[in-house]
Symmetry: C2
Subunit: 211 residues, 2 copies
């Protein structure tokens, strides 16, 4: 992979395995950075500022909105959540492919603002498998599982809006496939414009050289 | 990879290594078929009908034109060359990813007719490397090499029209990269429509089931 880092959006059903895939992707390859969101909600025990979230005040958040310092933001349960532009741009400039894990509506907002962003939707191979994974976690009540499944029905409507659908059947394969996807996107002609110009110039110069 | 086969166009400078990449791709993976062109020119010694070309008469070729049985065709040095639609469609229906090696103008004609076709341009990392490879072949006169390089200057103008630019720096890496590209294209949402519909239906049914 050459050139600057690119931005990728990853969404998917709760229980699709996004978190595990991300963790393994970062462990295996050194070209990735995860985008860190800003929020006005209070940190939960164990959450680390700058890793889990940038925990900021309502005043600071609203200042960022006014200064267009967020790629997107939304409110949820009375708190702001948003994606700081600066962190994403710094990581990309440093050559990192930035992955932004975000829900389906935020994903579409970002694509409007940054059309070269590729959106990837992670899904298990079937609805039954999704339910099985949610149940196997053992950390949620039957009611919470049903709520997540109902939300999944809504989210499924957004799948056709994504650029890619990543079926997470097997963790190892899903990680390899996602990394392959990122490498392929770097080969897109639109991201090779400098190379295209350069080799055209080299060829022209060579021919003008009178050989 | 799931679903039907897809169509890929591969073009590139003469000397970029397209032929070697294709040969190695077919040797390593079993999901590929190369499209075979039809031509009215006479077979050269060693050329096999149905492998190198479909060698047909001018009457047969013109009948195919009239019946829209060619995805594209062109004339060169007084002979017809074209891509029979039937062979490509049969291979795709059989689940093969069909690769069509074709020059830059034909590539654009096919994209117009079949917009889901992905176009890949194969290039060495630099003009100097292209010249070196052409020279190292040892099979061509200096004049022929110059002619190919002049043609490369023209072809380079078409690079921004391609979907992907594949830099062939190392054969093994280029083959892996091309295969990864094909796998990624299968993950495009537009090729996952059946899956998207199916999982949405499964989720809706599960929720309607009253669980």
């Amino acid at each position: 992979m050459t050139g600057n880092g690119l931005l990728f959006i990853v969404s998917g059903f709760s229980g699709a395995g996004k978190g595990t895939i991300m963790k393994e992707l970062l462990r295996r390859y050194d070209n990735y950075a995860l985008s860190v969101s800003a929020t006005t909600r209070k940190p939960r025990p164990g959450e680390v500022h700058g890793k889990d979230y940038f925990f900021i005040s309502r005043e600071e958040f609203e200042k960022m909105i006014r200064e267009d310092a967020l790629i997107e933001y939304a409110t949820y349960a009375g708190n702001y959540y948003g994606t700081p532009r600066k962190y994403v741009e710094e990581m990309m400039a440093a050559g990192k492919d930035v992955i932004l894990e975000i829900e389906v509506q935020g994903a579409q907002k970002i694509k409007e603002k940054m059309p070269e962003t590729e959106r990837i939707f992670v899904t298990p191979p079937s609805a039954e498998e999704l339910r099985r994974r949610l149940t196997d976690r053992g950390s949620e009540t039957e009611e919470e599982i049903e709520k997540r499944l109902r939300r999944a029905v809504e989210e499924a409507s957004y799948m056709p809006l994504y650029d890619f659908i990543l079926v997470n059947d097997d963790l190892d394969r899903a990680v390899t496939e996602l990394h392959g996807l990122v490498c392929t996107v770097h080969d897109r002609s639109v991201h090779r414009q400098d190379f295209n110009r350069e080799i055209k110039k080299q060829l022209s110069d060579m021919m003008r050289g009178g050989n």
